[in-house]
């Protein structure tokens, strides 16, 4: 980075004024007997985005904090951040190359869709059973492993989508069986502290599954073939709109997308459509949503909550398995592969508000964009890749400090 001192001074300026803004604005609203629910957050954003220039009028005018006030300053913060970055590092490929930037955004969207799908599983489990599963990453890993072993070892030459379906079926069954065998005591008060019990027991499952797979398949990385190989094709003849090669698609000469990832995103979107159809159009899906909204009321109407718990846990694990199954063609796969995606899913559901399904999906897209920005723009590429899990944690810390209910969370 050329002018790193400049960049970090701007960051420092933003943090200091954000902190001042939060305290001062809340104080101002408090003194005038106004609604203080959002005052601190708005103050932080206005302070960080504009420094004293926005804070002083805010302090004296104390306007009613409409939706515009709650959202717009954050875009200011983002803008200032981007501006500071661009000015301090004009040579960065993120700043100088529009093509790279659009490709990163496209990739962020694609990966974000898959992240969202995986996080949706975790959010589904949380919304029905009220626990966070610490074995989510292992189901992701198993999904990928099943597809690899089916396509490369057991049934080579078969349609890979069949393998994806098998991965879904297996992860669903393992999840549902585990729920029956180990999670039932938390519903009827047989354990003193159900949340802690569920954390430890799902963590135990993660440990068990990870080494079970390692014991069965070995610890070496495996990689599945791409589901489809595109024919070489360009249109129009000079390739100014679309050019395909075996592993890449180029749009408008500027956006480069890898085919396996694009395929994964396409399957994810289809799966998502199927999930929405299931949740909103079928009796089982409606029953699930009913249980998520009001357990007791649902039980009164004749929905058996025990079956719903099992279904929810199985479905949640299946979504993780599906995410792994479609991504195994894009990355090499290890028994330990699940740790970082699991962590990412946690961050996403906290970001989206624990238990909110739309929140989980939007959070996933956001997370995809953040990671694409982090991995693409941080000057030292090897370091940028090493810190991949850290981007999510920075976001998590900010969310927990500023809005613990998440972006879309219902008020507790």
């Amino acid at each position: 980075m050329e002018h790193s001192l400049f960049f970090w001074s701007v960051m420092g300026w933003m943090v200091v004024w954000g902190a001042i803004g939060g305290t001062v604005t809340r104080h101002a609203y408090f003194m005038r007997d106004l609604d203080v629910t959002d005052a601190r957050r708005v103050g932080v954003a206005v302070g960080a985005a504009t420094g004293p220039f926005g804070l002083i009028p805010l302090y004296f005018k104390t306007p009613k904090l409409t939706r515009l006030w709650k959202v717009a300053p954050w875009f200011g913060v983002l803008g200032l951040f981007v501006l500071a970055f661009a000015l301090s590092d004009p040579g960065n490929v993120c700043v100088s190359s529009g093509s790279f930037l659009t490709s990163q955004i496209a990739n962020g969207l694609i990966m974000g869709t898959i992240y969202g799908l995986m996080a949706l599983g975790l959010a589904l489990i949380f919304s029905i059973i009220g626990i966070v599963s610490f074995s989510h990453g292992e189901f992701y890993m198993i999904g990928g492993m099943v597809v690899y072993y089916v396509t490369a070892v057991l049934l080579p030459g078969w349609n890979p989508l069949l393998a994806v379906l098998m991965a879904c079926a297996l992860t669903f069954c393992v999840g549902a069986l585990f729920e029956r065998a180990f999670l039932t005591p938390i519903y009827d008060g047989r354990v003193e502290r159900p949340i802690e019990y569920s954390i430890l027991v799902t963590f135990g499952l993660a440990f068990f599954l990870q080494y079970l797979v390692q014991g069965l398949g070995g610890a070496n990385p495996v990689k599945a073939d791409a589901f489809i190989e595109l024919p070489r094709w360009r249109w129009p003849a000079d390739g100014s709109v679309i050019v395909t090669s075996r592993a890449n698609i180029t749009l408008f000469d500027t956006i480069f997308v890898s085919t396996p990832r694009l395929m994964a995103a396409v399957v994810s979107i289809l799966a998502l459509a199927a999930l929405i159809w299931f949740l909103f159009r079928t009796w089982w899906g409606k029953a699930l949503r009913a249980v998520a909204q009001d357990r007791q009321a649902a039980a009164v109407t004749g929905i058996d909550p025990r079956i719903m718990n099992m279904l929810a846990f199985g479905l949640g694990c299946m979504l993780a398995g599906l995410a792994g199954a479609v991504l195994v063609q894009a990355f090499s796969w290890l028994p330990q592969t699940g740790t970082i995606p699991a962590l990412r899913s946690f961050v996403i559901i906290v970001l989206g508000g624990l238990g909110s399904l739309p929140g989980a999906f939007v959070g996933g897209i956001l997370m995809g964009m953040i990671e694409a920005a982090g991995a693409g723009c941080i000057p030292d590429p090897t370091r940028a890749a090493s810190y991949l899990p850290a981007y999510g944690m920075v976001v998590l810390t900010l969310v927990l400090l500023l809005k613990p209910t998440g972006l879309f969370g219902r008020k507790a």
Partner: protein
């Protein structure tokens, strides 16, 4: 020195809902005050504000002249305000005796269990649960857990007691013990705020009633006057509360203590 608890213009909003709309009252010395109101009137929120668990948006609470609204709950407890919870909150995996040691040691009155064992035993005998002293909190029945909570408050020995629904789900024989407990505390010159839906108990025990409705204090006075207050009757009848069941109507004029 007389015990005083003053609340001055307490306001609290949750999101857009104004739960407390500027409450003011003053409670003194050996007073037994009933705090009543229909569900959602703001009773529990008020308790949490007084206790320090929730910070009010504005307003001042003073205990014996000391401002307590900015304090954390544990500081409020040390300043002299003790409360029970609507749902019993016994420490479930600690013995009954250990439950009583917690406030004694938190207040710094005892350095080790030995220092407060005698006091704890005296209180357990008073509450007639001394035979359960080594049982875990979770082994106690719901009513016994309520008694245990009251016992913890005796150890804490605050100046003002707030009891949130102490009679809910309590067996009649244990009820007598709670009455005895209230008389003992009141006899020491302490103030008690009693929140209950059981109007009979409220009318038997309390010398003064505060009635909350939608965050407003709609009545404050002796029970015989309050229960004929049109605003109070409206608040209850207007929300389909069965007055005959609560004893609001059927009680005789001179029934209060």
């Amino acid at each position: 020195m007389t015990i005083t608890l003053e609340a001055n213009d307490i306001r609290k909003k949750f999101g857009g809902l104004q739960v407390l709309k500027g409450l003011s009252f003053r409670i003194e010395g050996p007073e037994l005050v009933g705090l009543i109101g229909p569900n959602g009137a703001g009773k529990t929120t008020l308790t949490n504000v007084l206790d320090g668990a929730i910070k009010p948006d504005s307003g001042i609470v003073r205990l014996n002249g000391q401002r307590i609204d900015p304090l954390a709950p544990y500081e409020v407890a040390r300043a002299g305000l003790g409360r029970t919870f609507q749902v019993t909150r016994a420490f479930r995996r600690m013995s009954v005796l250990e439950n009583l040691y917690v406030p004694a040691m938190a207040m710094g009155r005892a350095r080790s269990p030995r220092d407060c064992h005698d006091q704890a035993m005296e209180i357990l005998e008073f509450l007639t649960i001394d035979h359960l002293r080594n049982e875990y909190g979770r082994a106690l029945s719901g009513g016994q857990q309520k008694l245990l909570e009251l016992g913890r408050l005796l150890v804490l020995n605050p100046d003002v007691y707030i009891l949130d629904e102490p009679f809910a789900g309590v067996h009649p024989t244990l009820m007598a013990t709670i009455y005895k407990w209230i008389q003992r505390v009141n006899g020491q010159g302490k103030a008690i705020i009693l929140i209950s839906h059981q109007m009979e108990s409220i009318f038997t025990l309390c010398s003064r009633l505060l009635v909350l409705n939608y965050g407003d204090l709609i009545a404050d006075g002796v029970p015989s006057v309050v229960k004929n207050d049109p605003a109070v009757i409206e608040a209850y009848l207007g929300h389909d509360e069965d007055m005959s069941g609560t004893g609001m109507v059927s009680l005789k004029e001179d029934s209060h203590a």
